[in-house]
């Protein structure tokens, strides 16, 4: 009985969401969200990427509960043990630390870096791009010139130089990646702004006496968000790989922190005899970047059907 009731209820929910004539703004918004979700769910690769990332998030969240060993506990008697089911699942490193536990804790660092960069870089780009696009004139020329200069710089080399100037560490690595990653977002935001700044509704708001600041923040920013979100999801894999590269070169997270790139670097000297030390963290980076790439591709297909068809 209750089951029937539930299916009926969910059916009506579905109908309510799929209606052609929404009766409120909230319904229209939820309905479009639901349709996007349906389209996204129909894409198996994107769902695959999405589930990996959900799992990663859970792993990071519950790291102390899942990890079989203390990621920092050294045990020199047990150093460089190969992967096995009854000792260390993924082997142990040169200080006898459990690689699996370190990978689990390392997921926190990876997510921390990715989300910080993915939050900051688009915001910087949004500020600069919308200001340039809306204000136009010399502001536009100067801001876009600066953007071009940063765009002309090779990103990894610039990030390297920045980190070496600021000093090694996670926060400085994040800062360096943000400093090199914002220009594409500024370009996107500017292009979006240019396409809407002469729209009738902007003119209407302007006639009502809204200031430039209000127009940009209340009426232009919301419309730039979706293209920025697509771009940032596609960029996340690149962010992970850049961050790991900095860690690998010893410029990101510092030991004994279980950052994946730094772990590869510490396994490098044992690669010929103890392959697992460097291989496992690399696999982790690969799986997570692949997941982000799949998710980004899927999101682009859903949110931006025009480009997805290509």
């Amino acid at each position: 009985m209750s089951q029937i009731k539930q299916t009926q209820k969910s059916k009506t929910w579905r109908e309510w969401l799929m209606t052609d004539s929404p009766s409120s703004r909230r319904q229209a918004r939820l309905s479009s969200l639901y349709r996007s979700w349906l389209a996204f769910r129909a894409n198996p690769m994107a769902m695959f990427g999405f589930s990996i990332l959900v799992i990663l998030l859970l792993i990071a969240l519950f790291a102390p509960l899942i990890s079989p060993h203390d990621p920092f506990a050294q045990n020199l008697a047990e150093r460089l043990k190969p992967p096995s089911f009854d000792g260390y699942l993924l082997g142990s490193d040169s200080l006898g630390r459990d690689i699996l536990s370190r990978l689990i804790y390392g997921s926190r660092i990876t997510l921390y870096i990715v989300f910080l960069v993915a939050l900051l870089a688009p915001i910087v780009g949004l500020f600069i791009g919308t200001a340039a696009g809306y204000l136009g004139g010399w502001v536009d020329s100067i801001l876009m010139r600066i953007t071009d200069i940063f765009l002309a710089f090779p990103r990894l080399v610039l990030a390297l130089a920045f980190v070496s100037a600021l000093g090694a560490g996670i926060e400085n690595a994040v800062l360096a990646i943000v400093l090199t990653a914002w220009p594409p977002y500024a370009r996107i935001a500017r292009a979006e702004t240019l396409s809407i700044r002469n729209a009738d509704y902007i003119q209407a708001v302007k006639l009502q006496g809204a200031s430039a600041l209000r127009i940009i923040t209340k009426h232009i920013w919301p419309l730039c968000i979706s293209s920025l979100v697509i771009r940032v999801t596609l960029d996340m894999a690149g962010i992970i790989i850049t961050a790991a590269g900095l860690g690998f070169l010893g410029l990101g997270a510092q030991p004994p922190s279980p950052e994946w790139g730094a772990m590869i670097s510490s396994g490098r000297q044992f690669i010929l005899d103890h392959w697992w030390v460097a291989t496992m963290p690399g696999l982790a980076i690969f799986v997570v970047s692949l997941a982000f790439n799949l998710l980004g591709d899927g999101l682009r297909d859903v949110l931006d059907p025009k480009k997805g068809k290509q």
Partner: protein, 352 residues
């Protein structure tokens, strides 16, 4: 075709040909971009926590010596004046001396750059030779296994850290199978056997006619160049595919088919002919990307190029070397961008 030719001639009689005008415009923007690039590099050098004066006079110098050196370095001048001095030095090819090698950074850069160039060039050539056909076939056979393969190849390429797969490659092909030479450009007993002409060992050994060195150099370069090639292949095939899809939708393709042209002529001559122009830009960009991507690849393979020069300098706080390297990589990057812009204008009749 004939009409465009004549209008072009008319224009060039009246004033400069438009593409030359374009060059003067681009020249101006190059200048600004390069000055900006140098300014950023200069600022990075300024915020460095290392005191340049102390590294010259030493820890135990008296205050007077310190002040004298401080003045001599121009550090008492306003920052813009200092930047001007920096520009002047760079224009003279003077990046200061490297702490590590105790030689002028400029000479070091001249020495290491050919190694990077060799690696990136071979990588790009392989990437172009395989990437373009893969992209074309993926576009023509959209939705078939070739298309999926191309997508898969690109996806893997975008998701794999180059420093990791390089290590694995060394482990498998050098450590386990012994098919290739290990890190470095040559086996140690072959180093310096051929005279250094271009700095690129493959060319130098051919010039000297020493096939042993040539073969050995090939066995060393094949893995790093192959890796770089994979990344460039992933990018080039992806872009080729989307350009081709765009062209295959056009009406002139239908016209060509209706005329009874063979399918291969339609695809490889008509469609690819029009894709050539944007592809040049993509190839130049990927080439520039490889020069940059070599930073990590070279570290893994102990390749004595500009990438490992910069990283070694970084780790020993050799700031002159880092800044010099950054400037050079940046300049090459900008030049390639501009070069591809110019090629675009040259090849595309609409841009003329």
């Amino acid at each position: 075709m004939v009409t465009t030719q004549t209008t072009n001639n008319k224009n060039s009689k009246q004033s400069l040909p438009p593409w030359l005008l374009g060059i003067s415009n681009t020249f101006f923007s190059i200048l600004i971009t390069m000055i900006g690039l140098l300014f950023i590099t200069f600022l990075i050098g300024r915020v460095m926590p290392i005191d340049p004066v102390l590294s010259i006079v030493g820890e135990s110098a008296s205050q007077a010596t310190y002040d004298a050196a401080y003045k001599e370095l121009g550090l008492d001048k306003p920052i813009l004046v200092q930047f001007f001095y920096f520009l002047r030095d760079v224009a003279h090819g003077d990046f200061g001396e490297s702490l590590l090698t105790a030689r002028p950074v400029f000479d070091d850069l001249l020495r290491v750059f050919p190694a990077t160039l060799e690696l990136a060039t071979i990588g790009t050539i392989i990437g172009v030779v395989f990437g373009i056909p893969l992209g074309v076939i993926a576009a023509v056979k959209q939705g078939t296994w070739v298309d999926h393969l191309a997508r898969f190849v690109a996806l893997i390429g975008y998701s794999m850290p180059v420093f990791w797969i390089g290590l694995i490659g060394l482990l498998v092909f050098y450590g386990k199978l012994g098919w290739i030479g290990g890190p470095g450009r040559l086996d140690i007993y072959l180093v310096d056997l051929v005279p250094n002409v271009t700095g690129m060992i493959l060319i130098d050994s051919l010039l000297a006619g020493d096939m042993d060195v040539f073969k050995n150099a090939i066995s060393h370069i094949i893995l790093p160049a192959g890796l770089l090639a994979y990344y460039s292949l992933a990018y080039i095939s992806r872009m080729t595919r989307s350009f081709m899809l765009e062209q295959l939708d056009q009406e002139y393709i239908t016209t060509a088919r209706v005329k009874g042209l063979s399918e291969s002529a339609v695809i490889w001559r008509h469609a690819l002919g029009n894709v050539k122009v944007p592809l040049v830009t993509v190839i130049a960009l990927s080439y520039a990307g490889l020069l940059e991507g070599s930073v990590l690849t070279e570290t893994i393979f102990s390749w004595p190029g500009i990438g490992s020069y910069i990283t070694t300098a970084l780790l020993s706080a050799d700031m002159n070397a880092v800044l010099g390297g950054t400037v050079v990589v940046g300049l090459v990057f900008v030049c390639l961008n501009i070069f591809s812009d110019l090629l675009y204008k040259y090849f595309d009749p609409r841009a003329k």
